[in-house]
C-alpha cells in the first residue's frame, strides 16, 4: 500500500470520526426533536462510510456487508422516528 493511500485513508477515517462527533453533538443538544433525528441519520451515514474506509484500510471485504446493511436498512430507524414525530404513532 502506498504512503499516499495510507495517508488518505487515515485522514478519511479521522474526518469521518469528526463528522460523527458533530452529528453526535446535534443528537445530544437538539434543540428540536427533528434535529436529533437528522443527527442520527447523519451518524448512520458517517458510520457506513467509516465501515467502507476501514475495510479498505484493513484490506478485508467483510466490512462491506455491514455498510450494505446500513445502506439498506439504516433508514428504517429514521423513518420510524420521523413518523412518530409526525403522526404520534409508528404503526397505525
Amino acid at each position: 500500500m502506498t504512503t499516499v493511500l495510507w495517508l488518505a485513508l487515515t485522514w478519511a477515517q479521522i474526518a469521518l470520526g469528526l463528522a460523527a462527533c458533530l452529528a453526535a453533538y446535534r443528537i445530544a443538544v437538539g434543540p428540536r426533536a427533528q434535529d436529533r433525528v437528522l443527527g442520527l441519520d447523519a451518524l448512520y451515514i458517517a458510520t457506513m462510510l467509516l465501515f467502507i474506509v476501514t475495510g479498505m484500510r484493513l484490506g478485508t471485504p467483510f466490512l462491506f456487508e455491514a455498510a450494505l446493511v446500513i445502506a439498506i436498512g439504516g433508514f428504517v430507524g429514521t423513518v420510524s422516528l420521523a413518523k412518530f414525530l409526525l403522526r404520534g404513532e409508528v404503526i397505525e
Binding site: G17, I27, G39, F62, G77, K83, F84, L85, R87
Partner: protein, 993 residues
Amino acid sequence: MGTNRRARSRPRFVSSEDFCRKLRRKDTLGGMIEENLLLILVGLPFAAAIAASTVRATAHGAAAWVSGLLLAVGLAILALLHAPISDGQVLRATLRWVPSLGLNLTFRMDGFVWLFVALVFAIGILVLVYARYYLSKADPVPRFYAFLMAFTGAMVGMLMSGNILMLVVFWELTSILSFLLIGYWHQGQAARDGARMALIVTGLGGLCLLVAMLILGQIVGSYDLDRVLAAGDVVQADPLYPLVLGLFLLGCFTKSAQMPFHFWLPGAMAAPTPVSAFLHSATMVKAGVFLLVRFFPVLGETDLWFYAVTGTGMLTLVLGSVIALFRHDLKGLLAYSTISHLGLITALAGIGSNGAILAAIFHIVNHAVFKASLFMAAGIIDHETGTRDMRRLSGLIRFMPVTGALAIVASAAMAGVPLLNGFISKEMFFAEAADWHNGTWLDNSLPYLATIAGIFAVAYSLRFIATVFFGPEATDLPKVPHEPPSLMRRPVELLVLVCLVVGILPGLTLGPTLNLAAQSVLGADLPYKDIAIWHGFNLPLVMSLVALGAGVALYAALGGRIATGPEGPPLLHRLRAQRVFERILLSLTWKLPRLVHRTFGTERLQPQLRLIVLLTIAAGFATLWGSLRQAPSPLATGFNPAFALMWAVGAVCAVGAAWLAKYHRFASVVLLGGAGLVTCLTFAWASAPDLAVTQLLVEIVTTVLLLLGLRWLPKRREEIEEDKLLPARIRRARDFVIAVVGGAGLAGVAYVMLTWPLIPNVGDWFLRNAYSEGGGTNVVNVILVDFRAFDTFGEITVLAIVGVTVFALLRRFRPAPESIMLDEEQAGLDDRTVADALLVPSVIMRWMFPVMIVLAAYLFFRGHDLPGGGFAAGVTVSVAFLLQYLAHDVRWVEARLTVLPIRWMGIGLLIAGATGVGAFLFGYPFLTMHAQYVDVPLIGQVPAATALIFDAGVFALVVGATVLMLIAIAHQSLRTTRMRERDSADTSEKEAA
C-alpha cells in the same frame, strides 16, 4: 473436497455390548436363574400395578384377580428361593444403570429380607381379598389397585435394595404412594389433611435419610449395602458419626411413627381400611424398624445409639399405649396401639443384644399378623354398622359372633395373653428389658416402663373387646349389623389362625426362619436360639402376669369414665402433636414468608432494579479489580484516532441517554440508537463482521420496538411539585451516577477483552475444526448450527415461547383512556391517511421490500461459509415486513400481505427438530450435521450442509417471533383508533339527539 461425515464427540452411555452384559454373569446356571428370579420378584408388583391401572373403573374382580395372582407368583418364587437362603447364601442381582456414578440397580436377599418380603407378599394377598369386598361399587378400582400394587413393588424394592441410594429412592416411593392411598377418598377433608401430613412428615424424614446415606457412602467409599454393612468400625470412628446417626434416626423415626413424629399415623387412618391394615400397621411403618435392625451392625452398639433409640422407643411404647386406651375411634385406638408396638420394636433395636434383635424381628412378624387382622375386623365393623365410634358400638357379639370371636383372639394376642404369638415376643421383650446390660439409669428403668406399657396394652385391648362386642345391644347404629360376606372374613380367619399356631408352636413354625434372619443381620456365627413358650417361672413371666392382672384392674376401675371423657388421656389430651404440627406448618408456609416479604421485599420496581444493578457493579469490581490491573494499557495496543473519536461519540450518546431518560424519552431513544451504532462499529473493528451485521439489524428493530412502546407511556406532568425539589434532584443524580459507573465499567471490561492478547483457548479448537468437522468456514455460524446446535435449538425454543407469551399478554391488553386521546401532533393533521401524508416515502419503502428480501437470501445462503446466517436473515426479513407496516397503515398491509407468525414459528421449530431427528436415521446422535458439496448446473459446486436446513428452521422462527411481537404491539394502535372512532360516533349521536 468430497463428503465428510462425523459422529459428534459425545460420551457414549450405552453400547450394545453393555446392554447384553447388563446382567452380571455368575459361574453357575443356578446363580443366573436366581438372579433373574430376584429381578422378577421386584418387577412383579409393578407389572401388577400397570395391569390394574388399565382395567375398567368398575372391574372390581378383574383388578383384584390380576393383582392377587401376580403376588401369588411372587410367593411361589420366594418359596423357590428358600432353599439357597436357608443355606445362608446371600443372593444378588445387578442391573447396570449409571455405572459412571456408581449407581446400579443392585438387589440382594438374605434371610432377614426373605422373611420381610414374604410377609409383604402374604399380607398383600390377604389385603387384596379383603379389599375386593370392602370397596364400594362406586369407588374407582384401577386407581386403588394400581397404587396398592405400586406400593408393594416399592416396599419390596426398598427391602431388597443392595445400594443404599436406591434404598432411599424406593423409600421415598413408599412415602408418595402412602400419600396417594391415604388420599384415595380425596373428597373428604380428613383424607386430604391426613395424606398431606403423612407426606410432609415422612418426606422430610426421607430427606434426612438421603443425606445420612450420602454421608455414609462418603465415609465408607461405596454405596453398596454389603460394603457399608461391613464397615461399622470405620463409620463409628468417623467424626461425622453423630451427624449420620441423627439424620438416619430422623428418617427411621418419622417412618415408623416414633414420638414426637407419631401424629401422622392417626391422621393416616382416613385411608380405606385395607390400606391401614397393609401400609400403616403391617408393612410400611415397619420400614423404619427394618432399617434400624438392618443398620444395627453399622451404627449400633454405641452409647449414643442406646440412649437415642431405646429412649425414643420406650417413650413411644409407654405414651402410645396410654393414649390408645383413651381413644374413642376404633381405628384411632389401633393406630396408637401400632405406634406403641413400633416403640417396642425400636426399643429392642436400641438394646441390640442378640436376643433383642431376634425378639425385634419376631415382634415385627407377630405384630403384622395380629394388627392386620384387627384392622380388618375394625373395617368389617365399620362396614357393617356404619360407625367406628366405640361410645356408640355395643353388644355386637350377638350380630356377628364369628367376627367377634376372631377379634377377641387377635386382641388377646395384642394384649400378650399366653398361647398366642403376641405373648411370646412380648415375653422376649420383657426378658431383654429385665436383663442387666450397662447399668445406666435408662437400662435400670426399662423393666418398670415395660410393665407399665404392658398394663395399658391389656387395658386398651380389653376396652376394645368389652365395649364393642359386649354390653347391651346398641340402638342408634346407622345400619343394622350383620356378618360380612364370608370371603371378606377369610383373611381375618387365616391371620388369627397364624396367631394361634405361632403362639402354640413357635419353635416349630417360625423358629428356623427367625434364627436365619437374625443370623443374616448379626453374622453367621450367631448361636441358634430356641424359641419356646415355657421358660419356667421367671421374672418375665411375673411381669406378664402383673401386666395382665393390673391391666384388667385398670380397665375395671377406669372403663366407665373413659367413654364420657375427652378423646385422649387426662391432661395430655390438651397437647396435641397434630395441632402443633399444623401451627408450625401455618407459620412456615404462610406467616413467615409474608413477614420476610414485608420486611425485606418491595413491590416497587425502582428499588429492585437499583439493588440489582448496584450488586452487579459491586460483584464486577470485586472480581475484576485484580485481573484488570494486569491488562495492557490502552495506549500500548496501537492507538487509532478515528476509533477513539467514535468511542467518544458512543460515550456521549450513552451518557446523554441516561441523562435525558427521565423527561425526554424520545431524545433518549435517539441517543440510544447512536450508542448502539458505535457498538456495532466496535464489533466490526475487532474482527467480528458478522456480529456487527447482526447487531445492526437488531438495532434497527429495537428502535422501532422502543418507539412502539413509547406511545403508551404517560406524558410528563409539570404540576407535580416534588419533582423539582432538592430530594428528587439528589435521587436522580444518584441514579445517574450509578448508571454511568455501571456503563463505564462494562465498556472498560469489553475494551480490555477486545484488546487482550490472544492466548490459546477453546476458540482455537473451533477455528481448527470448523471446516474439517462442520464443513463451513464461518466459524461463528458453524458453532451455532453444528457444534452447539443443541444450545441453539434450546434458544430458538425459548424465543418461540417468549414470542407467544408477548402475544398472549397483549391480546387482552386494553389501553388506558388517557392514552387514547389524540396527541397535539396528530390533532393538527386532520384526517389525512398515511398514504397521503407520506406519499413519496411510502412508495420508496414499498419498493425496498424485494431488495431487502434479496439481502436476506444473500445473508442466509452464504451464512455457512461467510458472515451471515439464519438469524441475521430472519431479522432482515422481519425488517422488510416492518417497513411495509411503516409505509402504510395496518389495514392496507394486512389486506395485501398475509403473515402468519405463529405458523412461521411452528414450522421453523419443526424443521430444526426434524433436522436433528433426521440424524437418527443414519445412526448418529441427535442434531448430528452432515456437510457435502453438490454440483448445481450453471452455478457449480455449492456447499449443501444439513446444517443449512437447521439454519432455515432458525430463520423461519426468528421471522415469526420478531414479526409476532412487533405486530402484537402495533395492533394496539389499531385498537385505539377503533375505540376513538366509536367514541366520536357516540358523541355525534348524542349531538344529533
